[in-house]
């Protein structure tokens, strides 16, 4: 296989990219100048050296040489709150909203319904260690409101209560209700129920 098709194969593995768009990426790169390509290749080559996984929250972070990320080492964050999210993109979404000042833990995935080996899908041992060492007062489960997200939330809740039976950790989940853009005509009963309970 020639390098055009080889590179297209690499792009094809990217999330959401089909064969046609992968090839278009290669043609696009062919129109860039050499220094552009060199910079990009260098970044890809070094990405795993310049980006580390925080040993405390397990998110990817780029800020420095320390073992823990700037959020985990920030004394102004409320260490009594621990928010559990599935992936880095979820963490980013929360952090960008500037409404949460506690700490995070990245599960690294979700647990499909009827999954037999959940410990292979998410960081369970690391979560246990984290709770043991951090002793948060509240754990906030921030998972998608999808079948797999809700299954993950339920699994993690049981995992925590069975592993820390005598603790007083409060386990909460994000509130449900109408989202921006919701139109009552199309909203499901479950959401209306929550929206009514959470009215303010």
């Amino acid at each position: 296989m020639d390098s055009l098709h080889k590179l297209a194969e690499y792009f094809r593995e990217f999330p959401g990219i089909g064969p046609r768009q992968a090839r278009r990426f290669v043609y696009f790169l062919l129109t860039r100048n050499s220094s552009h390509l060199e910079d990009m290749a260098r970044l890809i080559l070094d990405i795993k050296k310049s980006i580390r996984i925080c040993s405390s929250c397990f998110r990817f972070y780029p800020e420095g040489k320390a073992d823990v990320c700037l959020i985990c080492s920030d004394k102004n964050r409320d260490s009594g709150q621990l928010m559990i999210v599935s992936r880095d993109v979820d963490f980013e979404s929360i952090e960008k909203s500037h409404v949460y000042n506690g700490l995070y833990f990245i599960l690294g995935g979700t647990i499909p319904i009827l999954e037999k080996e959940p410990e292979k899908k998410v960081r369970l041992k690391e979560l246990k260690d984290k709770i043991k060492s951090n002793t948060p007062k509240e754990i906030i489960l921030s998972l998608n409101i999808t079948a797999e997200g809700e299954n993950t939330a339920e699994f993690i809740r049981q995992f925590i209560t069975s592993n820390f039976p005598d603790s007083n950790i409060k386990i909460s989940i994000l509130g449900r209700g109408l989202s921006t853009g919701s139109e009552l005509e199309y909203v499901d009963a479950e959401t209306i129920k929550s929206a009514l309970e959470n009215r303010s």
Copy 2:
């Protein structure tokens, strides 16, 4: 204009229907048998006689000959709660969720931002009369989380407080948060803020 095109013109005024689909409706009717068409024509002819507007909540209701609908006359509903919705479809959506047991008031529309004559868009006089005669303890504003819905909610809130300044009516709005299907990666900051505040 022949009757095929005339009837298509009528269908074209239906919400969400373009000229092509309107014509397809007519061709569809042409394949029905005569008694089917007679039944349908009869229903259209009589719809305004058999469906009334409730003089209390202003929703369309088909149940009987009384002046008020079965919900407004139901002694088991909590008359201390009054939910204000924009249209009948919103009322239906709430009622179908079986989580609300109070009364309703149908505004009949929404108020666009910067609208100069809001009283022409929604039933303001009727709302005032309703509150005066009903004296609810709580009014729940159930409007869409859209620019126009939020504008309507804010207008109605001010309309009530300025018309009933000495009352103790609690005015609430439906709670915001994650809806069924919400994925954190795509949720806006406003919704995350509410979801975090409403965590449980």
Copy 3:
């Protein structure tokens, strides 16, 4: 069932209409005035009297009291050409393009692949009679370029050749090639082949 829901059920049978939109249609009618509803009901009631099926081409036509439609009785149309289409909407699409001056025959449907009783899906006997009485020089099969459309075209072609083995009728199909809006990047090989053969 009350008349609101009864009428919604009728609308729900319309092509492409779901339960929610069906109900919205009823609410829409409830906002119309009575004379509007009377006109509409009248049109529905009379549609089968005012619209007839042409005894020659089998299309619905509204023009008059004659047994055949204005196109079939038009001496200026070329009776040597007979175009076979599936439905009235296809006939309309062709006629609106003002490029065809022959006669038509409406099959009334299409023939699914592996269909065991094709004679129940399309007007075969009527087609045979039409060809017998009309003796066209050319028959143009104008079917959709879909699996079912192509199956229908192939079936009709064989039906004609086996029923009129000694005739000199030329049977043609609409030319294939690039349509308005076609982008070469997304065009399939079959279409490129035809477009290349039909280049001009």
Copy 4:
């Protein structure tokens, strides 16, 4: 800016990629092993060395060290036919259909309507040289059936006839008609016209 965001910026320039997907690409790469990243970086670094632009048809080609690509140097291709396409993806689409055995010329772009400097958008000088040296019998304009594609086709046609007024080159365009998937109900008059003329 850290390397995560820097690399995301590079991906963001890719055709059709927004900021969120760009970041997801980086997170995806962070989950690959180092040798995978090294291979990919190497391919990007070398892509312009391993892929050349054919000096005859101007397409990108990866096959070897020669100055012209395997198609241009293939004695079995019909050098009497020259197909002009806009981009490499269009060339690929045609070539994949295995129905064309002539030569190609890649314009490198399209000419927007009212463009004042068309010579900056497409390879005009190179096209002139190509025709001069190749002396094809037929030039096939294979452009998209879009406003910009048709404008480009018209411009190139005039460019050729004014530059080679005494030649006998036949200039053709791909045939128009029904494409795979076309439904007559939705087809425009222009396409029906062509489909009828090209019937077979």
